[in-house]
């Protein structure tokens, strides 16, 4: 499927807006889907500063990002312009320690937070 240049540019602009960008349903403070919430949880736990793009606010991005990344689901994590994966991959990489390693390799500050509760 072809993606309109205008939408492609908009998504590219979002991806470039921060080092770590999460396309998600809802916002980092108020995720509106369990899978998005899980990734927010992982990033927060690692103390990663990131920007959330709420796809529920923009249908063009919501549908466009799936074609853009060739990935059928939301959330989608981008680090320095590179697509890292969705919820399953982020979770798996977190569990194996690869996620922390990836952030380190990209020169992104990791500051693990103590578990709450």
């Amino acid at each position: 499927m072809m993606l309109e240049d205008r939408i492609k540019e908009k998504i590219g602009h979002n991806i470039a807006s921060d080092e770590v960008v999460l396309f998600m349903k809802g916002t980092p403070v108020f995720p509106q889907c369990g899978f998005s919430a899980a990734v927010v949880g992982v990033l927060s736990h690692l103390g990663i500063k990131f920007s959330g793009v709420n796809v529920l606010e923009d249908d063009e991005i919501r549908e466009g990002i799936k074609t853009y990344s060739d990935w059928p689901t939301i959330p989608q994590l981008y680090v320095k312009g590179e697509f890292i994966g969705g919820c399953d991959i982020v979770r798996e990489m977190y569990e194996t320690g690869e996620l922390m390693e990836m952030f380190n390799t990209h020169g992104i500050n990791v500051n693990p937070q103590p578990m709450q509760g």
Partner: protein, 76 residues
């Protein structure tokens, strides 16, 4: 329409005949599955590529009628 576990398995098996597939219906509602696929086809591929291969095998159903499929992939 939710998908049955065996339909998911059939589609994956078609694309990866060698695959060992383990599917679990997480809530017993036919809508939330976890799926582990082990296939030699994944050798040398990144995780993103591996998952993309499975999504392709599911032929557009992922994110549509297949709402939640927690996916794990690896080479044997």
């Amino acid at each position: 329409m939710p998908m049955q576990a065996h339909e998911i398995e059939t589609l994956i098996k078609k694309a990866f005949p060698d695959a060992q597939i383990t599917i679990e219906d997480l809530r017993g509602d036919g809508d939330h599955y976890s799926c582990m696929v082990v296939s030699a086809a994944f050798a040398g591929k990144s995780r993103v590529q591996q998952h993309q291969m499975v999504y392709q095998a599911l032929d557009g159903r992922m994110g549509g009628e297949l709402h939640a499929l927690a996916l794990q992939t690896r080479a044997p």
